[in-house]
């Protein structure tokens, strides 16, 4: 670059940053007036600044345009008192236009950022700091997700993210998120190696794994790997890795930028327990299904009322059968061979006589469903084997499904189950147990 062009760039940068003084402007004027190529060089730098501004702005162009109108509307409101009735009318009009704009935006898919994933799972207490979520909702590049409570699971192309509220992340792209605060667990499937979670002081790169990251502005970052491998880096103030540590199964580390420390810490499996309890091996749910964030003490009729949704409760997970087990399933008896690794899920619906409509929903598992237990006798018989130890179960005969009223359908690959429980007075309780077998232990019944 010529020295003249370097000077132009220096002056254009200072102008852009608001740092150019009178002498600088005079010099710029002199250069621009003296040589047409300087005008071109100046505009090239200005265009670069403009483009970088747009690159860095997480808003889409139409959000930016509406933002301008919104600021205008706010400005009008501030002037309302001074301008009196006339200004009041105009402010309202601007607000009306803004509402129309936002409505148009909400209904328009024309310019939205690229969709990267979906909301795959919510607990029954899941809530956001702002706005609301629904199952299946699209997650787009640049989305800021602020979970206030409960667990929200986001499915990206190769990665499942579980956010345990309170937690905030920004979705940078399908291979990276920024963890702003709280805890996120990433389960990276084959093909997603290289997935990155960044916090202010660290960067964790997946190398084929399931790992958990917690960030707190005061305490720093904790990382643990339940299985697989991850590379954890402590970043310096410029965001450059200063220290690197590779973590493998059942290892954990703590980061402290203040002390410049990246050290191993004891692995604590209990950090994963909440997630196992609320999601287990469920890949996604849809419709009016939720998982409970806390195990209720009792599922006896009337004790755990669910109004317009059904609860899916992960029960005992990865039970290894010591001897063959025969269970009564929807399609007849199923024999599970000894050595099978089985996980259980109970679908519970107890609207009493309060609910207005019967819910519908479906759930998809990573592994196939081998048995669908709908009969009260079979449910009671399997409570001992697959039920949670401190949970009280209903033993009366109305607990099962009514074959002519309730619906349970299983997909061809046996991984998705859709359910529809009709409300059938006088006893409203309906329960269904699903047994899912680890693929390694699958034997055809």
């Amino acid at each position: 670059m010529s020295s003249q062009n370097q000077e132009i760039q220096h002056l254009a940068d200072a102008m852009f940053d608001g740092l150019l003084d009178s002498a600088g402007v005079q010099r710029l004027e002199q250069l621009l007036a003296g040589d047409p190529s300087c005008l071109q060089a100046y505009l090239e730098v200005v265009n670069l600044h403009g483009e970088l501004l747009h690159q860095a702005d997480s808003q889409t162009d139409e959000q930016a345009a509406v933002g301008v109108l919104r600021r205008f509307s706010e400005h009008c409101e501030q002037r309302q008192a001074a301008l009196g009735r006339w200004s009041w009318g105009i402010s309202i009009t601007a607000a009306v236009i803004l509402c129309g704009s936002l409505g148009w935006l909400a209904s328009s898919n024309l310019f939205r950022p690229v969709p990267l994933g979906t909301v795959a799972h919510l607990t029954n207490d899941a809530s956001l700091r702002r706005g609301s979520f629904s199952l299946g909702q699209t997650i787009r590049k640049g989305n800021l997700i602020e979970v206030k409570s409960g667990v929200v699971s986001i499915e990206l192309p190769h990665t499942m993210l579980d956010l345990s509220g309170p937690a905030t992340i920004k979705v940078v792209d399908e291979n990276q998120i920024d963890l702003i605060s709280g805890t996120v667990t990433a389960t990276v499937r084959h093909g997603g190696e290289g997935f990155v979670i960044r916090t202010t002081d660290s960067e964790i790169v997946d190398l084929g794994t399931e790992f958990l990251v917690t960030y707190d502005a005061e305490k720093g970052t904790d990382v643990s790997v339940r299985r697989g491998r991850a590379r954890a880096s402590l970043l310096d103030q410029q965001g450059i890795p200063a220290k690197v540590l590779e973590l493998t199964t059942s290892r954990a580390a703590k980061f402290s930028r203040a002390r410049g420390e990246l050290s191993e810490s004891p692995f604590q499996p209990e950090h994963y327990e909440r997630l196992d309890r609320v999601r287990g091996g469920i890949r996604s749910i849809s419709g009016q299904l939720r998982t409970p964030s806390r195990v209720p003490p009792s599922l006896i009729a009337g004790d755990e009322v669910t109004l317009n949704h059904m609860l899916v409760l992960p029960e005992r997970q990865n039970v290894i059968l010591e001897k063959p087990l025969t269970v009564g399933s929807l399609s007849g008896d199923v024999i599970l061979p000894a050595g099978s690794v089985v996980s259980s899920y109970l679908v519970h619906y107890d609207p009493q006589n309060i609910a207005k409509y019967a819910p519908r929903g479906s759930l998809t598992f990573y592994d196939p469903v081998v048995a669908t237990i709908t009969n009260a006798t079979d449910l009671v018989a399997t409570d001992q084997i697959f039920g949670l130890p401190d949970l009280r179960y209903e033993s009366r005969s109305f607990r099962g499904l009514e074959p002519d009223a309730d619906e349970v359908r299983i997909s061809d690959d046996r991984r998705t189950v859709s359910v529809f429980f009709k409300m059938s007075p006088p006893e409203y309780l309906d329960q269904l147990r699903l047994l899912v077998i680890s693929q390694q232990g699958l034997t055809s019944p």
Partner: protein, 200 residues
Amino acid sequence: MSRGMDRQKSGMHIPFSVNELRMSSDETSRESEFLRGLSGAYRGLHICTLSIVGNRADADDVIQEVCVILWQRFDEFEPGTNFQKWACAVGFKVAKAYARKQRRRRGYGLSDEILGRLAQIQSRGSELFELRREILQECLGKMRSQDREFLMGCYGARDKFVNLAHKKQMPVTTVYTRLGRLRKQLVSCVNRALGKEPSS
């Protein structure tokens, strides 16, 4: 009297008349058309105004005023013609008026002649600037991720750099030095790709 004339006769920098509170469905559709056009042209329009005022904060002020005036004069826009070209022409006028006002207030600024020539070159050179923008994407892709993030952090922040430096716990001079180095690196990268600079 047309709604457009209503807007112009109001003589204020506010685009909407009270009568517009009672909008028909046709008018709502007109709004949508305006917003669609504005959204598509927004990035280019912002750069047009930036090319005149040069300063980021001033450009933010000008773009707001430009959007309002565009709406005031939207009836003048002929459907089917280039919205961005029309919007930029308005943007240049508003930005030049703003720059003149700032020059009077501050006591210094670029002359009207230079501002006029900048507007001319910016509007005529759109294809070249578009090409440079495309190459810039490649150059950003080649950057070290830490540098790219730093750069995006600086451009994405609405804060002044002093505040940014405070947040990043680094001296403000370090922010400027690093930013300046990265900007030069990008300009050189684009120029090299266009054969304007020898490869290093």
